[in-house]
Point group: C2
Chain length 206, copies 2
């Protein structure tokens, strides 16, 4: 749609908004005109929050998650199990695992996965610093929680190779049928994986 | 979802984003983390576009649409028919009508519709300035293109009363079945309206 905007300022704001993922020009226009109806102080609060985050956001020097301090709250928490490290792609994944309330270990944010197609090589990711954490000792287990894609598998294998000389257990998160999902709609690979990796039930071991 | 954010700066940015209509916390987090991965200059361009728009946006002194100048491009265009004014609620509506490429008249943006429930009275809207435009002469027709809601109808009637002493034609946009829609799914009021307001076909008048 080659929509003509009555104002270049409006058009510029819409163009910026529509660069965001999943935001088309129509939605961008709606959001911008919504903001335009707000008081200047509210719009300033919106704008400032973004640029302040970008300028002042720190990353944890241990796990590379976003943090207000040099060491993030998880890494600084003595009640967390620092001998287990969950390796994830990005900050959203840290938040997703935290929301499960099932994990008491710490994290390591890679910043992506190895993807030659997208020009992401191992040196672009926080893999060396993961190896350093393991080399320092005290780490018993690494849980790999990356995407189950070709790139995720490649990254898993790369990390496995890098850590092979250290005495540390490696595991990957279980792949299986989502809770509430019906078997007939599951893809074969997932269903197959869920059968192979079946878990004991009723107190007996397999 | 009582999601804990690892950074207060991140949380603040997400909170600002999720104030926008149709943007929940999950989408807001995704958008903010997308921006965070961009270069500082890009984030600054995004932030600046919003606050610059709010601070510097002008409104046409004639039709009250957004404009970079005191008189908007439509009102300043001598090729437009200044004797026909299309009355709309907001700037989006001006853009929507412009996109049809079917209208060569000018506009009048009310800034909303009369809604006692929402505390919007006639004095909050640009109704007096519409009456002034008509009083100045040269206007032959007013096309009312407001929402077909109780509030829109109320506003139509209010404008009708205000303009009754002037020699100006009043019309409302046609309500009917959307192009491509099937009759059986249309609501009764719209279908009834489309029958009552049927248009000649095949060159013969009704």
């Amino acid at each position: 749609m080659n929509q003509e905007y009555p104002s270049t300022l409006l058009e510029k704001a819409v163009r910026e908004f529509s660069k965001l993922p999943g935001i088309g020009r129509k939605t961008a226009t709606r959001l911008v005109l919504h903001l335009l109806r707000k008081k200047e102080a509210e719009v300033a609060a919106f704008s400032d929050a973004m640029i302040t985050l970008k300028r002042e956001a720190k990353y944890c020097t241990i796990c590379h998650s976003i943090s207000d301090t040099d060491i993030c709250p998880v890494c600084a928490n003595p009640l967390r199990d620092h001998s287990i490290i969950c390796v994830v792609e990005n900050i959203q994944d840290v938040m997703a695992v935290e929301n499960t309330m099932q994990y008491r270990g710490v994290y390591h944010v890679l910043g992506g996965v190895i993807s030659p197609m997208d020009g992401v090589s191992p040196s672009d990711l926080q893999i060396e610093s993961l190896v350093s954490r393991v080399a320092e000792g005290g780490v018993k287990e690494i849980i790999l929680a990356l995407s189950s894609t070709m790139e995720g598998d490649t990254t898993n294998f790369y990390i496995y190779r890098k850590l092979s000389k250290y005495d540390v257990k490696l595991s990957v998160i279980a792949r299986g049928i989502s809770v509430g999902d019906e078997l007939e709609y599951a893809d074969e690979v997932t269903l197959g994986s869920s059968i192979i990796n079946r878990t004991p039930f009723g107190g007996k071991t397999l």
